[in-house]
Symmetry: D2
Subunit: 157 residues, 4 copies
């Protein structure tokens, strides 16, 4: 069987301005360029911009939604997974990735970083969260995704 | 944006003989032939045979796993989602589909049928579960998947 | 340390008439009379009547709620657990009991019976669900609770 | 009906030395002294010491366990809730409290603080986590629990 595609979860603020959206879009595009599957929480802000970057680049995106309605997903989610589990979907969102790329965000993003670290899933941050020793830092979204792929491939047999 | 692919969840026994596996494989193949995304619980038996049918037909499969390890997924799962949530993943498994196709199974399958019906997600059974009024019945896997697509499209705007 | 109290989950229809409510109330009362802790889904119908029976008898009740708001709990829930997880709370509801007593109900109740059986938790039904081989049957709520205690004590070391 | 008891979740490291355990025990004792119900994750370290403090003071404790086995609960848990949901139980653990008291901890504790803040549940820290603006700080466990009760009562109608 062919190897599975690498799965990269991109997390960050659910509502964001153009600068953060541009970073997220570049991250999503880089995941797709490397033939990875992009996982996000499926809603707006960083999640939407990352999905848009990925689908514009021919990629495939999965949105792990907190609500029970697939129509909550942003327009660039290829496959919505409407969990109906509220914030408990954050656990699935990070576990679904071989590695996590974290952009700027709030308490939801922080919970995802902490849940990933607790689960032993590597986290690479870009322009944020550099106060956490266990989180790797990258200068650009492309570098963050490259690091995430390296870490993911080290992790996947 | 292009319409999203229809998502069909196929459920059934986690360990099965060749006859049931053949039905599951035909169900998975029909989902792929119709350009749908196949959702399963990601493990063996019906889940594995359905995934195999789908990927042999060029389709894409998602496995919503009970455990936390992506390597638990059967070899024909394209994207494993290791939830780490045990049987609570059954809720996600059925919610992730626009409609559910049920083959023969045990208590886990029964829980998924009941959860789908409770959530208002249509269920089509093939060769099993005909004691439930709210479950539609089909004679063949192809007919079951065709009915599931009709129901799913009625449901998705 | 003193042994923990036996935990009995009572499940059934979320809206019910006086006859079913009377059965539920007797079941809850019997759990309390035997010094057990009553677990329910915390809402109305069978859940509420069972909680009422327990608290009237000096017992203690826990309500595992689907929503995120503790105020959704019926007035006879001593400790609400607002999970915010929707129907995934059904998994917790049955796992929280050493044994389950099932009264008449719909698809939600059926999902809980199936999840309990899948998890190896004994289920005793009273006046319903006698089509399932793996479910024990009792004639009265008091008998159902007595059987549930016996099964729970066999299960708890 | 009598008002429900206030529910206070105490979180912190799952393995801890005598100093941290002493703080946790005082926190648990204070919850019980104020007639609250103590919620914890049900395992060792801070969770166990807090439960012990509560039960020594005549209190009642609930342990929201990650695993499916009630026997994983520490000996001072009155009612174990074995969720079988892994770290997703952290969501329930914080939602089950009207307010959260955080002692020192690692990534799991951090995820619970972030999930609580995201859910709008007040968090009071004692001797840790003072880098978070949204977390209130207290000097002693007794003060932390007093603040948590005030916040909880402001929150519960």
């Amino acid at each position: 069987m062919a190897a599975r595609p690498v799965r990269i979860t991109v997390i960050g603020r659910g509502a964001c301005g153009p600068d953060l959206a541009a970073l997220a879009r570049r991250a999503g595009a880089e995941v797709a360029r490397r033939q990875g599957v992009l996982i996000t929480g499926g809603l707006g802000g960083v999640m939407e911009a990352a999905c848009r970057g990925a689908t514009e680049t021919g990629g495939f995106t999965i949105g792990i939604l907190p609500g029970a309605d697939a129509d909550d997903a942003n327009a660039a989610v290829t496959v919505p997974i409407p969990t109906g589990m509220g914030e408990a979907r954050n656990v699935i969102n990070v576990r679904a990735g071989d590695a996590v790329v974290a952009l700027a965000g709030g308490h939801g993003t922080l919970s995802e970083i902490a849940l990933a670290l607790k689960a032993g899933i590597p986290v690479v941050a870009c322009g944020a969260w550099d106060e956490f020793d266990a989180v790797r830092s990258a200068e650009t979204p492309e570098e963050a995704v490259a690091m995430a792929f390296s870490l993911a491939e080290g992790r996947t047999p």
